[in-house]
């Protein structure tokens, strides 16, 4: 079975194609607009805009088919992110997916973006045992989820204010760098010391909070404007990782599950990965990170999620509309 997945919930226009024969899952292509446009046109992408998605969706779609070396007739279904995200952006992917589905007469399946991130872990680690705990950390989302089975989840906690990646972006901005800030903070931290003790966010249950930490960094910078930026970045990154590990530990102890998947754009951070693996060795927790290109928003994860949803629940109605906010 071959599924095509479309993702336009935020900045990336992405199309991926995956196949599943017996139990073997393969990515046939996975095209993401930012890298692709840079390669082909050396163009600069607007930061966000539905218009950009409209311009990019057809060429990205065609490239995905070319790279996968398949024709329309070989596609068994179209999956697309319908929520959560920017409604105007979601609408582009959703409308395109419906149009393709109708014109080639193949089923159409709506996928929750967060479920896509969970499937990025399945794509990278087919060996992962169920159930597992999944931490999704990106620019727009911070969720802790119990993955009971494919397509069966329970949300354990989420952020009550800013998303994890958003905190990285905003602290980077305070340090004089513009969006996206994750890579910048990571790079800057390499030459910094963990010399400032920012307070560990204090939030009940398995929920997260990053707004207070953001403000703590702001106050520190106001009082110490000449303090080495490297040390601020390093200390900030340190406390974020401490906080995430504290919450993971809490979930692990509560549920008695020692497999933890980590997905979303922030999962690319190598410092975070190193600290998580060290922690895992110490406390007997097995961590699973997707490959970097599958951490970022992409179409392949949506394609596999759609394929599995289709096998279990059949197609989605063509009346499916985009939703800005929805839980997994």
């Amino acid at each position: 079975m071959i599924f095509l997945g479309i993702e336009t919930s935020c900045d990336e226009t992405a199309v991926g194609i995956v196949s599943k024969e017996n139990s073997e899952e393969k990515i046939l292509s996975n095209i993401v607009s930012s890298q692709w446009v840079h390669k082909r046109y050396a163009g600069v992408l607007p930061e966000l805009a539905s218009r950009a998605h409209i311009q990019l969706i057809v060429p990205v779609f065609k490239t995905a088919l070319e790279v996968a070396k398949i024709g329309y007739s070989e596609i068994d279904g179209i999956a697309v992110t319908y929520a959560p995200g920017l409604v105007g952006a979601l609408l582009v992917g959703l409308s395109f997916a419906k149009a393709v589905s109708i014109s080639i007469n193949k089923p159409f399946v709506g996928v929750n973006h967060l479920e896509g991130h969970v499937f990025a872990i399945f794509l990278s680690h087919p060996e992962i045992e169920l159930p597992f705990i999944c931490l999704i950390i990106s620019g727009g989302h911070t969720e802790l989820v119990l993955v009971k089975d494919r397509c069966s989840y329970e949300v354990l906690g989420s952020t009550i204010d800013d998303a994890c990646g958003e905190a990285f972006d905003k602290v980077a901005r305070m340090l004089g760098y513009s969006y996206p800030g994750g890579a910048f903070i990571e790079k800057l931290s390499e030459s910094g010391k963990h010399s400032i003790k920012f307070p560990l966010p204090n939030v009940a249950k398995l929920d997260f909070s990053f707004s207070g930490l953001k403000t703590a960094v702001l106050y520190f910078l106001k009082e110490n404007p000449t303090y080495p930026k490297e040390d601020v970045a390093c200390s900030f990154q340190n406390v974020v990782v401490d906080f995430l590990l504290k919450k993971i530990n809490q979930a692990v102890e509560q549920l008695g599950i020692r497999q933890v998947g980590v997905a979303g754009g922030v999962a690319i951070n190598r410092y975070l990965q190193r600290r998580f693996f060290e922690y895992g060795t110490l406390y007997n927790i097995k961590f699973y990170f997707p490959r970097p290109e599958l951490c970022m928003d992409n179409g392949a994860m949506i394609a596999l999620a759609g394929l599995e949803r289709y096998r279990r629940f059949g197609p989605s109605p063509l009346s499916l509309s985009p939703i800005a906010r929805v839980r997994l």
């Binding site: 930061e47 800013d162 905003k170 901005r173």
Partner: protein, 143 residues
């Protein structure tokens, strides 16, 4: 009107009072630097508008617009990531502004001021750690 708040809780309380006075179609424009407490105050405004506590008001920086349901439909709009004002057209922002819901806009300085001629303007200034000066224009009284 001008207020001093000494904690995020006090900022939320002030927001609640403002929220309780809003009516259909009102626009609130928030100004203030990163970390000044715009989202915190909006939490209060939403509570004042009858949004349930458990319907968490979180930062919409990434997805630009969050929607909540209180006495009215509430659009929590965050222009933080907007660079080019023309991007706002593709978001359908004017439809929100002219609609019958309540618009709460962070980083309102990125908008054409003409669009905000009728808006209630809230300026938040950091005086010291946790202490804020909050100026409100366009609201006659606060009960």
């Amino acid at each position: 009107m001008e207020f001093i708040t000494n904690s995020s809780q006090e900022t939320i309380e002030l927001g609640k009072k403002i929220g309780a006075q809003l009516k259909a179609g009102d626009i609130l424009a928030f100004y203030g630097e990163l970390g000044s407490g715009k989202t915190t105050m909006i939490k209060g405004v939403c509570l004042g508008l009858g949004v349930a506590e458990e319907s968490i008001v979180k930062s919409p920086s990434f997805i630009i617009i969050n929607e909540y349901q209180g006495v009215y439909s509430i659009y929590h709009i965050d222009l933080y990531r907007i660079k080019d004002p023309s991007e706002l057209y593709s978001l359908g922002l004017e439809d929100y502004l002219e609609g019958s819901g309540i618009c709460l806009i962070e980083w309102a300085e990125k908008l054409n001021p003409e669009l905000l001629a009728q808006a209630i303007k809230v300026q938040i200034e950091i005086i010291a750690n946790t202490m804020r000066k909050i100026k409100i224009h366009g609201l006659k009284t606060l009960n």
